[in-house]
């Protein structure tokens, strides 16, 4: 497995045959080879129970791999965890807070836990982090009085106490309202443009599509694929969609024009695999045949299509 040194030189996370079997026998992660390039926003995608959180726990040194190895920012984990973790911000399986402390005091405590965090700048950094996630106004309230979304924001603030080289976010938009989700996405883009690598786990396909440059897809503890988002989506061809009241005629014309896999759906929609010719000709042919065309478009393959194409099944929890 030594054939990829070029790609791995600039990688922030590299795992080799990383495997975790929990006590009790559950094989949660199975031979994972992951390479996260520096500067990427890396989407880690998979259905519930596919091993995303387990992988993140191993990367953060919280659990010991059963076999295989992992390096984060060039250090082996869990052995070198203490050396790397000050430069890593993490949100793992939702936020965890001291309910009897205020939001601000929660952050002060987490910051005090980091022996490399400068106590002289602690208060300023905490205030900045609170500001950044839009919690400044609620900073003095007890965390137990926070809503789910506010807790999530406070958890994110804890990850942003220091400028980080790597952010590991396990389902960061969980529990947020649409406005909050948008804010988090723009925050992620902003951090990424500052050079922070973001490793983002999610089971929300469109979330990954919107913010990520790279993606890896997990299912049942195994890695199905990884690479730039565009490549993955490109691997699955788009569909030609014609909206028309004359579905039968449209289907016939499309067939004559060489389209494959034609499907007529709910009343006024025909979709097909686009033929290998200029689509302008196809639309002209439709019009010539007297088909009343309301819409004519190629729908880009989504990650969801890619995922279904990869797994040959839906986005369901593995047994």
């Amino acid at each position: 497995m030594e054939e990829r040194p070029a790609a791995e030189a600039g990688a922030v996370i590299v795992t080799r045959a990383l495997t975790k079997r929990y006590r009790g026998g559950q094989l949660a992660v199975d031979g994972l080879d992951l390479t996260v390039p520096a500067g990427s926003v890396f989407g880690f995608l998979g259905p519930n129970g596919s091993g995303k959180t387990t992988t993140i726990r191993m990367l953060m040194g919280l659990i010991e791999p059963t076999s295989g190895s992992a390096r984060v920012l060039g250090h082996p984990v869990p052995r070198g965890a203490r050396a790397v973790l000050p430069r890593v911000g993490a949100l793992i399986e939702g936020p965890a807070l001291y309910g009897f402390l205020t939001g601000r005091d929660n952050l002060l405590r987490y910051d005090a836990a980091d022996p490399t965090a400068d106590p002289r700048t602690r208060r300023t950094r905490v205030a900045d982090a609170l500001e950044r996630v839009g919690l400044a106004a609620a900073a003095g309230r007890k965390a137990k009085a926070y809503s789910l979304g506010m807790k999530q924001r406070l958890g994110l603030a804890a990850a942003l106490l220091q400028p980080r080289a790597l952010l590991v976010l396990d389902e960061p938009t969980n529990g947020l309202d649409p406005q909050g989700m948008r804010e988090i996405r723009s925050l992620i883009r902003e951090l990424a443009s500052d050079g922070t690598t973001v490793f983002l786990s999610s089971h929300l396909l469109d979330e990954i599509e919107q913010v990520c440059t790279h993606v890896a897809v997990m299912a049942r503890g195994r890695l199905l694929t990884q690479g730039p988002v565009a490549e993955l989506a490109a691997g699955t061809r788009g569909r030609l969609v014609v909206t028309t009241p004359d579905t039968a005629d449209a289907a016939r014309v499309l067939k004559e024009q060489g389209a494959g896999d034609i499907a007529v759906a709910d009343g006024d929609r025909v979709d097909a695999e686009p033929p290998d010719r200029d689509l302008a000709e196809v639309s002209a042919a439709l019009v010539r045949a007297g088909v009343r065309v309301r819409g004519f478009a190629v729908e880009r393959a989504s990650l969801e299509d890619a995922f279904v194409a990869l797994t040959g099944e839906g986005f369901d929890v593995a047994g």
């Binding site: 006590r23 040194g61 060039g74 790397v84 009897f100 402390l101 022996p115 700048t121 500052d194």
Partner: protein, 326 residues
């Protein structure tokens, strides 16, 4: 990256607050794309030597801001007040106050002559159960409570470091032993001074000592009582590393405490009783002898040291290797 920061003097150091890490992490996140990641090995930053104590300070603050901790201390403070008032009412009816029975030394009969004896009585009354129970709760909750709240994983990725976190937890629990004991002693001294006369006192050996020396011995006794709790603290901390439930750890520790106290009363078990952490607890009364009788006192401290070493190591072995999934 390994740019050590020599003068960690407060003040003008780095101009804008928070700018220091920004300059570093921000700067090296980008170029890393081209250069090998391996070059960033070595100490990540140049932290000041005292920064690591920030966690201890935070731990103390967090512990003593918990409502539960304050409630425990409140109960401990109330015990001497109740004992003092009871003795006062009892002796108000007639001078023939009972005395003699119960918790080891017969300090209680002397309280009416000298309020200082309320300190000894209160410590003797709380040491068998109230004090160790309070320690058991705090120690049992130390790691398991963080695990059940999920805050443990965030402390560990901060990164607190497992050994450092455990040491901090143990130091805080020990500090709580001292604070709890002092709360009992100070509450007893205040109550005693308010309800009874103060002055010279008679030692168990029958000699008379001045009030000043009496106070000194009371302080010494409080310290010995606090030290007597170190074994329970280590035991509780070990239990705390075994589970992800704070409640379970507290209950187990307190349960063990009660079990050992009961076994310590069964005559058939005499052979093993000297190894119980509570066996020599009441030896603190020997500090009220003249001259002081040291044998049992030292045995007690020795036992506590052994418990601290054994269960401290066990806690360390467990905590530094376990999976933190909660």
């Amino acid at each position: 990256m390994s740019r050590a920061e020599p003068g960690v003097r407060p003040g003008a150091g780095h101009g804008e607050a928070g700018a220091r890490p920004a300059a570093e992490a921000g700067a090296d996140a980008g170029p890393r794309a081209s250069g090998p990641v391996g070059t960033v090995a070595g100490p990540p930053r140049g932290p000041g030597p005292l920064w690591t104590l920030g966690l201890f300070r935070s731990e103390l603050l967090t512990t003593f801001r918990r409502w539960r901790t304050l409630a425990l201390l409140g109960v401990l403070a109330a015990v001497p007040v109740l004992v003092g008032i009871a003795v006062r009412i009892e002796t108000g009816d007639g001078p023939a106050g009972g005395g003699g029975h119960g918790d080891g030394p017969a300090f209680i009969s002397q309280i009416t002559n000298n309020g200082l004896f309320l300190v000894f009585t209160a410590l003797a009354a709380t040491l068998p159960f109230f004090l160790p129970m309070a320690i058991g709760v705090v120690a049992g909750d130390a790691i398991a409570g963080e695990a059940s709240a999920g805050t443990l994983r965030y402390l560990l990725v901060a990164p607190a470091g497992r050994t450092r976190l455990l040491l901090t937890k143990y130091a805080t629990t020990t500090a709580f032993c001292l604070v709890a004991t002092l709360v009992v002693a100070v509450s007893a001294l205040t109550t005693g001074a308010l309800l009874f006369p103060l002055g010279e006192l008679t030692t168990i050996s029958g000699t008379r000592i001045g009030f000043g020396e009496g106070l000194l011995r009371a302080l010494l006794i409080a310290l010995v009582v606090a030290a007597s709790l170190i074994g329970v603290a280590a035991l509780g901390l070990f239990v705390s590393t075994l589970t992800n439930s704070g409640i379970a750890a507290m209950a187990t520790t307190v349960g063990l405490l009660i079990t050992v106290q009961i076994l310590d009363q069964i005559p058939q078990l005499q052979a093993i009783q000297p190894y119980f952490f509570s066996h020599y607890w009441l030896s603190f009364a020997d500090l009220m002898r003249d001259p002081v009788y040291w044998d049992d006192l030292l045995r007690n401290l020795g036992i506590q040291a052994v418990y601290a070493a054994v269960f401290g190591s066990a806690a360390w072995a467990r905590f530094t290797t376990r999976d933190v999934t909660a």
